[in-house]
């Protein structure tokens, strides 16, 4: 079953157009193709690997151990294997880096929800940078759209409540006026919106991605330690060690993990050949993936792709241990909150307002 069809069978909270999810996926896909040229449209990633290389590679990959437990020589070998395979498969010189985590850094992220306009440029940039599957579409960032204001307080409900005043006699005492109705629309959000233009007057936007929890429930749940916290506080996955059990996906309160239900399709033209072993290298079917704060970039001192892509500068990124960093300045001077604090996961992802 295609992702589009699956999506179309889901109904979102406050949903009034069932096909929105469907539309969204196609829309962003079209955009990519437009940008990448006409030729892209016709091409489906055709595996161009000769069978002998593929076999040698897959045997080697099958028996390799967890990346963190490999010796340097083993790592080199594993990486060479991958580079060779990706280069042949995608028809372009691909590098798989193993840039180590820089010392004395704890990465943090701050997002200005007053500024976000819901354009989802970050989503597009992320998909492109991180080699996410285009079909079935996998996206690491969700931009939730919420209705501004509150339309449930109405005069006619003023005297309503429970118990109903004429069911068992009218005692004139009500335990709640509007209380039997949901108050406001808080918590009701959707991420398949498809407006003509953003920002919409009546909406606010709330992007969610992996919060890189300091106490990550996903890491706790993984039976084989395929997912773990790197020395910079980024939660990463060894795609070659993941057994696809999805325990981590259940555990994550931010719904940040994406599973490769089928063979990921990544057209050659769209593939970003500059990859990192723990970051944006192409994934295989049956493994988990998620945002890594663009580990391949930030370990080299660059910004994550979403930070660069945001047209309104709503996204800030930096070293939480450095008081001079942008993100620390935000924490010190703005109105800051974290999402779902009740889960006690201590996210390194902050929301703020001016």
């Amino acid at each position: 079953m295609s992702e589009d069809k699956r999506k179309s069978e889901m109904v979102k909270e406050q949903d009034d157009g069932k096909e929105q999810g469907n539309g969204k996926v196609k829309e962003s896909r079209r955009d990519f193709l437009k940008k990448m040229g006409v030729a892209a449209a016709a091409t489906v990633a055709a595996p161009a690997i000769t069978s002998t290389t593929a076999e040698a590679v897959s045997l080697g990959e099958t028996f390799q151990t967890h990346f963190e437990l490999m010796s340097d020589a083993q790592k080199e070998k594993a990486i060479a294997r991958l580079e060779k395979r990706y280069t042949e498969q995608f028809g372009k010189q691909t590098t798989v880096a193993n840039t180590p985590a820089p010392d004395g850094v704890l990465f943090g992220y701050a997002l200005n929800i007053a500024k976000c306009i819901g354009c989802r440029r970050c989503v597009e940039a992320c998909v492109k940078e991180n080699n996410q599957s285009r079909d079935p579409a996998i996206q690491w960032i969700r931009v939730l759209r919420m209705e501004r204001g509150n339309d449930t307080f109405e005069l006619e409900n003023l005297h309503k409540g429970s118990p109903d005043s004429n069911s068992l006699g009218d005692y004139g005492i009500q335990s709640g006026g509007h209380a039997d109705k949901h108050v406001g629309l808080s918590g009701a959000a959707e991420h398949y919106y498809e407006p003509e233009q953003v920002p919409e007057d009546n909406a606010i936007y709330f992007p969610v991605q992996c919060h890189q929890c300091e106490d990550p429930p996903c890491v706790k749940a993984c039976p084989v330690r395929a997912t773990f916290r790197d020395p910079n506080g980024i939660v990463v996955i060894d795609y070659n060690w993941c057994i696809g059990c999805r325990m981590c996906q259940l555990a994550c309160p931010y719904w940040a993990r994406r599973f490769n239900w089928g063979e990921p399709e990544l057209p050659n033209e769209d593939m970003n050949p500059k990859t990192h072993y723990l970051g944006n290298r192409p994934r295989m079917r049956g493994v988990m993936e998620k945002c890594t704060f663009c580990l391949q970039r930030v370990r080299e001192g660059r910004y994550p792709a979403c930070v660069e892509a945001c047209p309104v500068g709503a996204r800030k990124f930096g070293n939480l241990l450095d008081p001079e960093s942008e993100v620390r300045k935000v924490l010190a001077t703005k109105k800051v909150f974290r999402f779902k604090e009740a889960f006690n996961t201590d996210p390194k992802f902050f929301y703020y307002m001016d």
Binding site: M1, R6, E9, M10, V11, K12, E13, Q14, D15, T62, H66, L69, P136, R142, L144, G187, A188, A189, E190, H191, V208, P217, V219, K220, A221, C222, P223, V224, R225, A226, W241, C242, I243, G244, C245, R246, M247, Q249, L250, A251, C252, P253, Y254, W255, R257, R258, F259, N260, W261, G262, E263, R285, G286, V287, K340, F343
Partner: protein
């Protein structure tokens, strides 16, 4: 006898045992072959659908990032029910020393053994990359011990499988060669198995309730619900199983045994009702966000009401059998109502797993999305494949075991000492 000969005969005997056991197991009447043929049909179809899933990925199931667990894992939870309930046969036999159940204990262990195997198969199908399961083998892979609940489950399931396999084959083999068992070895094994049965189930419940992000499961009643469901569905299966054995084999099973299980089934249903009531009250009275999944099941959400009939049917079919079973006439109707009620209880708890426990729990998702699960044909045939393999195993093992227990399968050199069990 020379030393050499002795060794030779010692290694020959287990082979002879296996040969006699299985050649007896595959013999039977037309009905027996019909049953095996019926199951083989699903195996044949399943070989194809399993191939499709293993080569295409889990996308051929109905699972999505919204509804993460498919039919496989819901069925796995159910098999854990039955496997745990098998100790209900062992406990009366070995701890209460009931004479009428002494010989039946081994059948209980066969049930445990088969259902753990079925459950492990379901887990294999559930995994995105089953060929990497070696990552969970101690020594080869790495365990996330003591953090991951799945790690515990892998350990307890395999140990339970091992214990039962050992106990069953040891007992049957000793019967076969006509020697008394070494109770110093056997009794402790049985006691460990008895303790281990509920344990596999409690750990399975913890796998679910450890996920704070899925609020419907994040409740302390889950292990109690599971154990009471094990009592009900396990007893239901055992009743049907024993009634069939009694009808079709020489094995003698007293009415008192069936009565015991129908009582266990009745009171397990009673406890399930209480557990549900407690949970529903706990959710619905404060009616916080935690109640969202339950409300979704009870009333639907914005027109999404696929689970509503399942929910109410399940609740009704758990309550009605409870009241029926309070009636001793129904409990004693061994050839009509009792098996029918047992069948309903077995099926309803099987259906409750995906339709009430698993699929609706994922809505709303942590980001507030509602979704409905649609199992695909490939997924359904894979589930039937696993069940068919499981029932074939159960049938063959039981048939062979009955042969040994009734003395029809036995070592030709054995000197009759006890006059046989006939």
């Amino acid at each position: 006898m020379t030393m050499k000969k002795q060794i030779a005969s010692a290694s020959e005997k287990p082979i002879a045992f296996a040969r006699d056991f299985f050649s007896y197991a595959i013999k039977g009447g037309n009905l027996y072959y019909g049953w095996l043929l019926f199951l083989s049909f699903f195996v044949l179809v399943g070989l194809y659908t399993a191939f499709v899933q293993m080569t295409t990925g889990l996308i051929v199931t109905g699972a999505t990032d919204q509804i993460v667990w498919e039919l496989f894992i819901s069925n796995f939870i159910f098999t854990a029910h039955i496997a745990a309930a098998a100790v209900l046969v062992v406990i009366p036999a070995y701890i209460y020393k009931r004479k009428d159940m002494k010989d039946l204990a081994v059948l209980g262990e066969i049930i445990a053994l088969t259902f753990v195997t079925i459950g492990l198969n379901f887990i294999m199908f559930h995994m995105g990359r089953p060929e990497r399961s070696w990552h969970t083998f101690p020594g080869l892979g790495i365990f996330n011990f003591p953090n991951s609940m799945l790690t515990y489950d892998i350990i307890v399931l395999n140990v339970y499988l091992g214990i039962n396999a050992l106990a069953v084959s040891y007992l049957l083999y000793m019967r076969y060669i006509g020697k008394p068992m070494n109770t110093k070895l056997y009794t402790p094994l049985i006691y460990v198995a008895v303790a281990w049965g509920p344990l596999i189930h409690i750990v399975t419940a913890f796998i679910l309730s450890s996920n704070a992000a899925i609020s419907m499961w994040h409740t302390a009643v889950l292990p109690f619900a599971f154990l009471s469901m094990a009592g009900a569905s396990g007893s239901a299966l055992i009743i049907i199983f024993f009634l069939l054995i009694r009808k079709f084999s020489k094995m003698d099973i007293a009415d008192s045994v069936i009565d015991f299980f129908s009582q266990v089934m009745a009171w397990s249903l009673g406890i399930i009702i209480l557990v549900f009531a407690a949970e529903f009250f706990n959710e619905l009275y404060p009616a916080t966000h935690h109640a969202a999944s339950l409300e979704y099941m009870m009333h639907g959400h914005h027109g999404l009401d696929a689970y509503v009939p399942w929910f109410w049917a399940t609740m009704a079919l758990i309550v009605i059998p409870f009241f029926l079973l309070l009636n001793s006439k129904i409990r004693k109707s061994y050839n009509s109502l009792l098996p029918a009620v047992s069948f309903v209880v077995f099926m309803i708890i099987l259906i409750e797993k995906p339709a009430v426990l698993v699929f609706p729990a994922f809505s709303p998702t942590p980001l507030g999305e509602y979704a409905v699960y649609h199992p695909t044909a490939i997924e359904i045939f894979n589930v039937l494949f696993i069940w068919a393999v499981g029932f074939i195993t159960l049938t063959l093992l039981t048939k062979g075991a009955i042969g040994v227990l009734t003395g029809e399968v036995r070592d030709s050199n054995t000197v009759e000492t006890s006059g046989g069990a006939k």
